[in-house]
Symmetry: C2
Subunit: 156 residues, 2 copies
Amino acid sequence: LSTSHVSPVVHAPFMTEALAEARAGLNEGGIPIGCVLVRNGQIIARGHNRRIQRSSVILHAEMDCLESAGRQTAAFYKECTIYTTLSPCAMCSGAIRLYGIPRVVIGENKTFVGDETLLQTNHVHIDVLESKECYDLLQDYINKNHSTWYEDIGRE
Amino acid sequence: LSTSHVSPVVHAPFMTEALAEARAGLNEGGIPIGCVLVRNGQIIARGHNRRIQRSSVILHAEMDCLESAGRQTAAFYKECTIYTTLSPCAMCSGAIRLYGIPRVVIGENKTFVGDETLLQTNHVHIDVLESKECYDLLQDYINKNHSTWYEDIGRE
Ligand SMILES: [Ca+2]
Ligand SMILES: [Ca+2]
Ligand SMILES: [Zn+2]
Ligand SMILES: [Zn+2]
């Protein structure tokens, strides 16, 4: 079965780990967005947003996770699925397209909708789990940290 | 005058600095692609590709330069022009879109054409200088390092 045909239940354990990364970020004082990269049913890299922690404008959760996965071939990325608690922004969607990751599983896209349409146009399969846990965790943070959140998505 | 109306001559000193960054990368053993970020006629950040040097998959020249510029507001980015020796890939173009940088000046796009059309669709102004210096520097590297180059653009 390809990921495109599996049920959300199969995604749940991986999204739980992405959510654990989001919580780890929050515990560091960061924006709670997390990510894991899965290949052959195994988590091979983890990451979370580190804007605050590293004073970084590029370490979104997905970027942190891809960096953690290290230098890989195009063939390697083709076998990967990326799990992220939030719909990936233009930068992270661009990285997913650059490296040819074919599947993205999104925790929630109520808070923010990234480049989902562009990803789909580029034949990236997307699943949105509509996770209340992912949504509530980020919403609670945003309610307390408006300006940091807007900075993270390039808005005022 | 907005950047969109200025002549290539005005861009030349900034592209020369982006090219100096590319050469600095080459001297470190890296892929020679460089970038500078300009605001109010001043270079405020510099960067170059650090795939080899840092074993990084996210530190393309543009990403390294944006990271070097630090955390900034959307209003700040709106006043910036990014100069890069090579047409920006999907990831770097996504970062440019995320942060709302309105102008991109490209040294050359013969070696590689990134998301130029997508940037223009998103109202980012693009100038391509067709710089032989940028092209020759990268071509010479690629001729000697095929696999590293293909890795950097997510291909086999
Ligand atoms: Ca599906
Ligand atoms: Ca022009
Ligand atoms: Zn992102
Ligand atoms: Zn790039």
